[in-house]
């Protein structure tokens, strides 16, 4: 029996906009994945601890406050430091296109910006799992 894909949907930093994160969480759940949503105000440390504890296959982060260049890489690096290298890390939110190359270099595999259909996120995960 194949176990369902486990996803951590996380809100790093102080940003309180969770409409998108909650819609993504629900869409992923409706597609058959198991989703853990962290709620607001997660530190990178808390996100990594949850990811490890919940043994997730995907970490999906949402930031609309402009703090993505600082916080996304921090999560990536902390996961690496924990020896976790087979988790798919994706992000979304209000992120200028020009920042995406930097984020991808930092280890975020894909960034989903405003207007992305939830189906695209679902498909991406199914097609790009690392484990």
């Amino acid at each position: 029996m194949v176990r369902p894909i486990r996803v951590l949907v996380a809100k790093p930093g102080l940003d309180g906009h969770d409409r998108g994160a909650k819609i993504i969480a629900r869409a992923l759940r409706d597609s058959g994945m198991e989703v853990i949503y962290t709620g607001l105000r997660q530190t990178p440390e808390q996100i990594v601890a949850a990811a490890v504890q919940e043994d997730v296959d995907v970490v999906a982060m949402s930031i609309l406050s402009g703090a993505h260049n600082h916080l996304f890489p921090k999560v990536v690096n902390l996961l690496k430091a924990e020896g976790v290298d087979d988790v798919l890390i994706i992000g979304g939110g209000v992120i200028p296109k020009e920042d995406i190359p930097f984020l991808m270099e930092s280890g975020v595999e894909a960034v989903f910006t405003p207007g992305t259909p939830t189906k695209d996120v679902v498909d991406y995960i199914y097609n790009n799992l690392k484990r």
Binding site: L14, G16, H17, D18, R19, K22, R26, Y37, S65, T118
Partner: protein, 569 residues
């Protein structure tokens, strides 16, 4: 005999309605059904955002129960359906008040001066997230966030720079600050004092609406009871010391942005309003002493007519609530005065210039709905904070509607429209039912605790998204009429250096101020926070000694604790 227009006559048994009814049925069964065979309608059912069915045609039959004097009345008179002021924009246009702020106080000060030069008529301060959540720029949780979504304010020193060269007796200022609202208000009062302006001359608003933070916005600090105490402290303090100040901006904007429908926006906002009035009365205040200074903040969304009807319904409903439920005697206590912001969530990252058109329609909705003040979003809303050029266009949108379109020349021009009056009634009716539901749950604070309001909003949000993905709802440029686009390169970027600059400023501040005085002020505040006393004088005292925002909030965190969000999915 002359046919009246709708129900605007006193006799309900007017038999002209029978004739209209007969003609209508005749028209529908013959003309309409015939044409539908050749040209089917585009949808099975046409609905508003609130799922209210929109008919093909509205006639006097749809307004036949309307009593003009009771249900509409006159602008400036109960139930204020047509407006809170008798002459509205004929006397003075709405305040053009662009929400602004980013990076340091110096840079934001420049933006404010630019906006005032370009003709905006009121200030609106956007603070960064650390400030909104009571953290100084050198706090661990402030990393990466300093100056990003608004201006970083760590102390009175920053506030002085923010308003440098701006006479506080001449402008009104709205500050979007909630959990630490009392502290920012105290800073504003202190800055004014240094300018020689006494607090009784200050005009402005603080958002100060914690309930919607728990529901939809997320910048809470303290638990509900302590938060309500701070809010009612502010009501009381301002009624005596800052009598021209709007002590709260009870907000529906964010609730709508989180995904609520128009009906939910009205219902949840007014339910929050009810909770604040109840809290203030419980704290010993007389309703007519604080209610005239309550204000509201609504969203201006896409559906033009639903939005206009929504504003009218909200005014009428609140007037009834204040009069009947809270027995207000002062007419001013029954007036729903509001600020509006055009709906950020409707703006797209794709083909951003299209957003200018969206904002124009939303501006019309707000103006035809009788708003007292308005913020129009810029075309780059989905990308970043606005550039100077983008925000100027947004301001020009208001100015063109105000000066060139003619819609301001008469009050509530859409009154009497069978559709508008029918929609106004329907929204009021459905919002009222929802408020009753919240009452049954124990009021807004209890409903929030139980997750009821949040779940309702999430359902609506998900439904809306699924309608877009199924093409039931079209978003131009996103799911239809798309193009290949390059990234828009000229967007506003906040320098990462801002964080460094603020940290340096904090170091310098702590060296230059009298730290003994600060310690004493904070100690007094800590003691008083444990009593029932009004904390505003003690906050003001600490602020004047240059205690930082973070230092003051830490004291309050110590005494009140922090709110723990229950994750509701």
């Amino acid at each position: 005999m002359e046919l009246p227009i709708g129900g605007f006559i006193m006799e309900k048994n007017f038999d002209g309605y029978e004739e209209i009814d007969k003609s209508y049925n005749n028209w529908e069964n013959n003309k309409v059904e015939k044409i539908k065979l050749r040209f089917p309608e585009r949808k099975e059912k046409f609905t508003t955002s609130s799922d209210i069915e929109v008919k093909g045609l509205y006639t006097p039959l749809d307004a036949k129960d309307l009593n003009y004097v009771e249900d509409l009345g006159f602008p400036g008179e109960y139930p204020f359906t047509r407006g809170v002021q008798p002459t509205m924009y004929r006397g003075r246009l709405w305040t053009m008040r662009q929400y602004a702020g980013f990076a340091t106080a110096e840079e934001s000060n420049q933006r404010y001066k630019y906006l005032l030069e370009q003709g905006q008529t009121g200030l609106s301060v956007a603070f960064d997230l650390p400030t909104q959540i009571g953290y100084d720029s050198d706090h661990g949780l402030a990393e990466g966030e300093v100056g990003k979504v608004g201006v970083a304010i760590d102390s009175l020193r920053d506030m002085e720079i923010l308003f440098d060269g701006i006479p506080l007796d001449k402008v009104s200022t709205s500050m979007t600050i909630n959990a630490p609202a009392g502290i920012l208000l105290a800073m504003y009062i202190a800055v004014a004092e240094k300018q020689g302006v006494s607090s009784d001359r200050l005009r402005g608003t603080i958002q100060n609406d914690i309930l919607k933070e728990y529901i939809a916005r997320g910048t809470y600090i303290f638990p509900p009871e302590a938060s309500m105490r701070l809010i009612t402290n502010i009501f009381e303090y301002c009624s005596k010391e800052v009598p021209q100040w709007n002590t709260i901006s009870i907000s529906g904007y964010h609730i709508r942005e989180a995904g609520a429908t128009a009906v939910q926006e009205v219902a949840f906002t007014l339910a929050d309003g009810i909770a604040y009035v109840e809290a203030a009365i419980k704290a010993g205040l007389n309703v007519d002493d604080f209610a005239p200074r309550l204000s509201f903040f609504f969203n201006a969304h896409n559906d033009l007519f639903e939005e206009i009807a929504k504003f009218r319904a909200a005014r009428r409903l609140w007037a009834k609530i204040m009069k009947n439920r809270f027995k207000a005697k002062n007419e001013k206590s029954m007036q729903l005065k509001f600020h509006t912001q055009t709906a950020g969530s409707t703006l797209t990252a794709q083909q951003p210039d299209n957003n200018i058109i969206r904002v124009t329609i939303q501006t019309l909705a707000a103006v035809l709905g009788g708003t007292q003040s308005l913020h129009t979003n810029s075309r780059d809303e989905a990308l970043a904070l606005p550039t100077e050029d983008s925000v100027r266009i947004a301001l020009r949108t208001q100015q063109i509607v105000g000066y060139e379109s003619g819609v301001t020349e008469t009050v509530d021009p859409l009154a009497g429209s069978y559709y508008i009056e029918s929609l106004t009634d329907k929204i009021e009716e459905e919002a009222y039912e929802l408020i009753k539901k919240i009452d049954e749950l124990g009021g807004a604070p209890k409903a929030i605790e139980k997750g009821y309001i949040q779940k309702e909003i999430q359902s609506s949000a998900y439904k809306y998204q699924m309608e877009i993905e199924s093409m039931e709802k079209i978003v131009v440029g996103v799911n239809k009429f798309r193009i290949e686009e390059d990234a828009k390169s000229d967007i506003l970027r906040v320098d990462a250096d801002v964080e460094k600059i603020q940290k340096e400023k904090l170091k310098a501040l702590k060296l230059n101020r009298n730290n003994e005085d600060v310690k004493t002020a904070l100690n007094i505040l800590e003691k008083k926070a444990q009593t029932d006393e009004n904390l505003m004088p003690y906050i003001l005292n600490a602020v004047k000694k240059y205690a930082t925002l973070g230092e003051i909030c830490n004291i309050l965190r110590k005494v009140f604790g922090e709110y723990e969000q229950t994750v509701i999915l």
